[in-house]
Every structure is written in C-alpha cells, then in structure tokens.
Subunit: 136 residues, 2 copies
Amino acid sequence: MKTLQNAIEILERHEIRPSVQRTEVVKYLIEHRCHPTADDIFMALSPEMPTLSRTTIYNVLKTLEENGAVRAIVIDEKNVRYDICVDDHAHFKCSRCGRIFDIEMPRMERQLPEGFEMENVDVYYYGICPECASKQ
Amino acid sequence: MKTLQNAIEILERHEIRPSVQRTEVVKYLIEHRCHPTADDIFMALSPEMPTLSRTTIYNVLKTLEENGAVRAIVIDEKNVRYDICVDDHAHFKCSRCGRIFDIEMPRMERQLPEGFEMENVDVYYYGICPECASKQ
DNA sequence: CTTTGTGCAAATTCTTTGCACCAAA
DNA sequence: TTTGGTGCAAAGAATTTGCACAAAG
C-alpha cells in the first residue's frame, strides 16, 4: 500500500508533521475522492482506531486546510466537505442523488471590478448527474 | 413606502401568499442587499414585531427559497446567507472584513462533461476588497 | 370548517473549547 | 523538558421538529 507514503509526502510538503492520525486522514482523502464530511472520515477511521476522537478529526482538518493541503467545500448547506488539494477544479452537486463530482474548471475571463484582489474562486454547479438523468 | 408593494408583488409572482411576516422578510431583503443571515433578519425585524419567532424566519426563508424568490448563499462556513433573486451575479467575500459583495457574473464557457444537466452555477470569489486593500 | 401560517419550547446536529494526558523533538 | 498532538466531556451555535393555537379562504 503506497498510499501511505503518498500521504506522508503530502504532509511533509506542507510542513505538517505526519502523525498517525493526520496520515490516516490524508490517506482516507486520497482514497476517497468523494468529498467526505468530518463525520464521514471519523466514522470510517473509527473502527480501526477505537480511541480516535471527533475533535482530532476537526483539529487535523483545520491544520490541513490552514496549510493548504486540503480544501473545504461548502456546496452543502449542512456540513463542510473536504477535498485533497490537487489541480484546480470545480464541483457539481447532483440535486437528486446528492453526490458531488469533480468537474474541469471552466475557463472564465475574470473581470473583477477595479480594486478587488482575488485570491481564489470556487465554482459550484447544481443539476442532475448523468446517472440520475438516465434513470427517468 | 413602495417597497411594501414591491415585496408583495415578488411574493405573488412566486405564488406565495403575502402574509405579514413573509412580506416583512422580503421587504428587508430588498432594502438590505448585504446578504443577511436568518438571525440578522430576525434581530432586525424583532423590535417592531415582538411576537416574531426565529422559527418563522426559517419557515419563510425556506418557502421563499423553494419557490425561487431568494437564493441561499453558502460562501460562509458558519451560517447560510440570503439574497433576493434578481439577475444572475457572483459573490466576492473579503477575507479581511468578511463582507460579501455582488459581482458581475464572469462570462465562462461551460463545458460540462457529457450527460451532466446543469440547472444553476454559483461562483464565489475570495480575496481582499478595495477598502481593505487601500488601508493596507 | 378545512387548510395554511405562526410561534413556543425542546430536540438535534455540527463544531468548538477547556483541560489533562501522552508523545515526540 | 518543552512543545506539539490527542481525546474526553461539556459548551455553543445554527437549525429543525412537534405541537397547539391563530388566521385566512
């Protein structure tokens, strides 16, 4: 399983010490590119790490986000979702099945008004995914 | 005060019965295009309507959103913000002062993969607003 | 009178805090 | 031996639910 090495590399590249918990969270995010919530991650890791705490998940995700290793997705009104940072991409949320898909970032001419300094853009599409569209 | 007439019109256009509470919420959203939260609206209307309940604000906003009269903005991780639906526009959040600005929607070539049916796009910019940028 | 809207209190959910303990540099 | 990381229990904040009463058609 080389995802482990991969996870450690990501942490080190972002100057985060690769503790067991942090490594496991990153590993999970690499293997599950389905934009999990903090609780999804907790529930998934909890069985193999019985003493794991939700607080730790929140701590880890906060650290990862502050250091640019993950990206918080707020496409959902309920809870925040997380995505390992790779290339820049947009998100598509299917309003029928609720799944979130990675979508190529649209090329857009950024014509911000005078004086606005942009650091980042998030693009969220809403609609029906191919699967839901086909069945009905 | 013709905002009242305006508010009633908006409600009727969306086939929502213009109760006092609904009309007041819409009036507030028309007059305050600063993307308030449910609580902002509650706090603002509460003094003149002492029996008003937060539940009602949530109910009203839900109805308005379901009928397309307002738009929920989830640019913020904490709470949902609301915007009266007018033309299509993007949002810019200043990471220094936290204010949210309306920005012209960027022209973008939407090249969604085969099969995805788009209903809506949200574009959220993050950065520094002119005011914060000028005062260094 | 039947349906729709309002609002209180309580419950729920997601996230954060305070603090003590453990581990690594 | 000091700093950083983890995790429990409790607190906090935003939103929802259940239910009863009020209002409108």
